[in-house]
Subunit: 146 residues, 2 copies
DNA sequence: CTTGTTGCAAAGGATTTGCACGGCT
DNA sequence: AGCCGTGCAAATCCTTTGCAACAAG
């Protein structure tokens, strides 16, 4: 986590940008988040500490975080852009419960490899991918049986 | 294609809805599309035949088409909701060129199986999934070398 | 001091909704 | 006739942009 802040600091400096309290509050809120916060969720979290921070700044800062390589945008299909940490977090895919919305992060090395092969077979130089697996989670299956 | 129209007709009737020229024009435009048209692209296509059809009706009809099982929403991350045919088209995933935006539809049975196993291993009852593979297509790789 | 940053409000783009009119059944 | 469907405009929702005041280097 300290690493992340240092990287952000470096990024800011190297681009000739400025270190502001807002930026660090937002980055901190993001780093403390576990799941996939939306811009609005981050805004709410930051406002608890500094109620003057505007939504706009959250958007702008998250863009910087993505550029710096610390964050990544993900879309689960609920119409919101969500963010997830990228550093120190191995790549993973998402299992999403269609009933309660819970998401689990998963990886399967074999699938990863096959995806790369598949892209190459079509002449593509693979850069990244998103795999969203939708289903009904164990809990919801039980609830639905009742 | 006739099948599709019949299914749509059945759906409409079974729900006590009405058969209108607009709906059929939109469904036809959608069925004739090859790729992944957005609501706006479909609207433009329909307007060539009947310029009075409104954008709103396109949205509403596409929702019906999704409910009827003939269409499905997909999102490539360009901010637009796109639609693809669901009937008579085996399931497939998407290879998307990050440079020119071209999309190729692909399937790999082995990956499909593994995905199912992965979901089950986490207690999920799998329903569907989306796999988006991003990369640089063969053409763009050549162009970028120059 | 110079330049980047902020919050607000306004603008934007995509999609939805309210409503009176018109068209199926 | 009754009710659904339509187009339009207005309303939403999320995100971006313009701008004047402000703060970091």
């Amino acid at each position: 986590m300290h690493d992340s802040i240092r990287i952000f600091q470096n990024y800011i400096t190297s681009k000739g940008l400025k270190s502001t309290s807002q930026r660090f509050r937002i980055v901190e809120a993001f780093l403390q988040s576990t799941g996939h916060p939306s811009a609005e969720e981050l805004h709410a979290k930051v406002r608890e500490i500094d109620p003057t921070v505007g939504q706009t700044t959250v958007y702008r800062t998250m863009k910087l975080l993505c550029d710096s390589g610390l964050a990544r945008e993900v879309q689960f299909g609920d119409g919101l852009t969500r963010y997830e940490q990228r550093l120190g977090v191995e790549h993973h895919d998402h299992l999403i419960c269609e009933h309660c919305g819970a998401t689990i992060e998963v990886v399967d090395e074999q699938i990863e490899k096959l995806q790369e092969v598949l892209a190459l077979r079509h002449g593509f130089k693979p850069t990244r991918h998103h795999l969203y697996l939708y289903g009904i989670c164990a809990d919801c299956q039980k609830k639905l049986q009742k």
